[in-house]
Symmetry: C2
DNA sequence: GAGATACTTAACCGTCTGGTTAAGTATCTC
DNA sequence: GAGATACTTAACCAGACGGTTAAGTATCTC
């Protein structure tokens, strides 16, 4: 289930903030990590989670590593939420129909 | 961060399936649990996660417990994804602009 | 009211997660 | 090529997570 990995990756404030940051443009690992009060290895592991979830791409440029957003996985989340809420609205509509018939 | 709880709750296939099921209409705990090859306590804990995330409401009816979807939390997820992808598209547009100026 | 039904709570257990420090690798600079 | 820079990998640790069984509570049925 790719949605498991995607949603799991986004269920962490650090990782969600990284995705938000990358939505505004690419950045190196060092730049991304600077705001967070954790060691670089810890941050690197968060990045690995995002990469494994298909949300982020790492590419080595010289001795730095540039990260960029891979928004297809985000689209999958949007699609699932949209589909589920659509079914929910349909259920609401049916319920209202029943209530109308009842009165 | 309520999004932490919401996304964390949805990062599990059982819980996501329960949300999908509830989007089609309310159901009792027993009915919801039946399809899953796990003990009732295990399933009940999944429900608790969904309730704590604000996605599901439990209400006791006689000796059964009826669950219903609380889609406001789902809306928050949709809003976050929409906002993030919007920023990403804006970044793409800026990049294309730069490329145009370059040529 | 005794027993069955529909759950929840409690206690426990192995595995995954999020952090640490120390060591390794690749690249740049001098 | 020696040292500094930018990371990643390895090894470890405490706590959260997903499951279990056993026991508890509330309601219905007879």
């Amino acid at each position: 289930m790719p949605l498991d990995d995607t949603l799991g990756a986004l269920a962490d404030p650090t990782r969600r903030a990284v995705v938000e940051r990358l939505a505004r443009g690419d950045a190196t690992v060092g730049t991304l990590a600077r705001p967070y009060p954790m060691s670089l290895p810890a941050f690197s592991k968060h990045l690995t989670v995002l990469v494994d979830a298909g949300l982020v791409r790492r590419s080595k440029v010289g001795r730095t590593v540039v990260c960029s957003l891979e928004p297809a996985a985000l689209d999958d989340v949007a699609a699932w939420v949209a589909e589920t809420t659509a079914f929910w609205h349909a259920a609401i509509d049916r319920l209202e129909h029943v209530l109308e018939e009842d009165t």
